[in-house]
Amino acid sequence: MFDQEKLTKLSEEAKNWEEKVLNKSLSKAPESRELFTTGSGDEINRLYTPEDISDLDFMEEIGFPGQYPYTRGYQPTMYRGRLWTMRMYAGFSTAEESNKRYKYLVEQGSTGLSVAFDLPTQIGYDSDHDLAEGEVGKVGVAIDSLADMEILFDGIMLDKVSTSMTINAPASVLLAMYIAVAEKQGVSADKLRGTIQNDILKEYIARGTYIFPTEPSMRLITDIFEYCSKEVPQWNTISISGYHIREAGSTAAQEVGFTLADGIAYVEAAIKAGLDVDSFAPRLSFFFNAHNDLLEEVAKFRAARRLWAKIMKNRFGAKKPQSLMLKFHTQTGGSTLTAQQPENNIVRVAIQTLAAVLGGTQSLHTNSKDEALALPTEDSVRVALRTQQIVAHESGVTNTVDPLAGSYYVEAKTKEIEDKAMEYINKIDEIGGAPRAIDAGYIQQEITDAAYKYQMDVEKGDVIVVGMNKYRIEEASPKGLLRVDPIVGEMQKQKLRDLKAKRDNDAVATKLEALRKACEGTENVMPLIVDAVKEYATLGEICGVMREVFGEYQQNVML
């Protein structure tokens, strides 16, 4: 990137500086540590200069925003054109309660909805299932049937909002319910905007809400790709997620490497199913974490964007520019929050927000200060949303595109993360792709090793977590946490009894039987799931049929 003559000169000057200036300083006052590392534990040099990025070709590696390789962002004007979507993940208790929270968030300036489902819903059990006992409405809203979904979006016109749904194994069912609610509002499916997470591979790796084995799960995903490319063209059909991989303890480079390896597996599966890469690739979206090491995180987002563009272009021969663009949602890092001195978490979230924005995110959820203790209260959610608004309107970082580009450190780090991520992808390719690397436990083992190293570093005090292993105080237990009333479980059970007494049970049985046939064969299951939810077949019934045909995933338990 620089003139060779100038680089030679610079190299001499650097040596001079080391001898005359640096060594003198070090002899008087040594540095506080021998080794400086990033939040992911990678070594950082004292100083970065043009020498560190001398092999970067500007047009090939950095370039212009809205242009390959999209290092600087996928839109030419980024936040000067439009701010990111402030999308707060929320949902708890019943559909009625969650509906109230969504309306509150929209009033407060939230620009997109993000639905959290409870664990029984995520694992395809109705609220009256034995395994749902104690879990109904706890970590998200309980949805058993279209009736609950109608209440969840009551008074919210689905052509006016974009909705993200954190749902994976039963993503097809919840998407079908969303389409059905829209239809009842008079909104056609082609007007719907939003995202389903639909990323089963990271469920096997890190998040745990899997249902079916790998093969039928991948088929459900490609069925959704195909269906949406025709019927719901504005819908993001998958959110390929590094978030949970990072939460489970991975490094930043692993987050990129493992997530893009999952992405490659989905693209390969869809191509194998006969889809043209440019028919579905523009609707692939990504989801990353934002941790505290600001510059490492910014470099991570830039590296992910560049690497994905190269993969889609060179490996898959995608032609449409939209197929090459890595668009992503970010959530601040839940695992960085401390239960001790929870107010400190507001500061952490602010730093992480900056990282996401300087990294060019398309949407952002900011965690609330009390989330290491319970689900957040309305007040703490408001502070988290305000944090985004302060960064958006007061910090000034939105006024120019990719402001950290050209920093010797950030560019060198971006390249380093890209290279490391590519090494992981190569390793996974050698094993035979992400699904096989997961079956072999390779990805899980790498993450657990990184997590354990971090944990031990914290315990030794090599890593300082303010308020937790340093600067502790005596503090009273926090008051006013959000509690979900256990009565929610009973209320959902009653709703199910009423529903089953009221609906046309013969029609339900017919639709479920048609779905079973489709699952046993090869036709796209999506239209049959849409038919079934419209008759108020429950989530548990639909997933039950699929469980019978597909079987269930068996976790490879390892430490």
Binding site: Q122, G134, K138, A206, T209, A339, L375, T448
Partner: protein, 130 residues
């Protein structure tokens, strides 16, 4: 030399957050204990059966989904029914302070919340396993 401590680390309920459980399991193993890790989605019945079959001294359960008030006491109840109340039960996860007295009352030995050092858990087990 004290006896070898055997511990079952379990993930009850539907919660998939297993980072904490895995970290504890590894740390206990590195501290010289014998550790059996169940993996995800264990029912209280499965956990108690595994604990008895593996003849463990203690069960450590991790829950981050809020289902602790239901699942921890159920494990304790089943242990009692099977005359295995000598097995020490400890728990961890995202558990509000206000819930802890009730869980201890039900028979949980100790609850470890986020920010706990694994060395504290090791110490607790060494002091409390009979």
């Amino acid at each position: 030399m004290s006896k070898l401590i055997r511990v079952l680390i379990a993930k009850p309920g539907l919660d998939g957050h297993d980072r904490g459980a895995k970290m504890i399991a590894r740390a206990l193993r590195d501290a010289g204990m014998e550790v059996i890790y169940t993996g995800l989605r264990q029912t209280p019945e499965q956990i108690v059966a595994a604990a008895i079959q593996e003849d463990v001294d203690a069960i450590g359960m991790s829950i981050l989904s809020g289902a602790h008030n239901h699942l921890f006491p159920k494990v304790i109840k089943l242990l009692k029914e099977q005359n295995a109340s000598d097995i020490l039960v400890i728990g961890g996860g995202v558990i509000p302070e206000d819930d802890i007295p009730e869980l201890l009352e039900a028979g949980v030995g100790a609850i470890f919340t986020p920010g706990t050092l694994t060395s504290d858990i090791i110490k607790y087990l060494r002091e409390n396993v009979q």
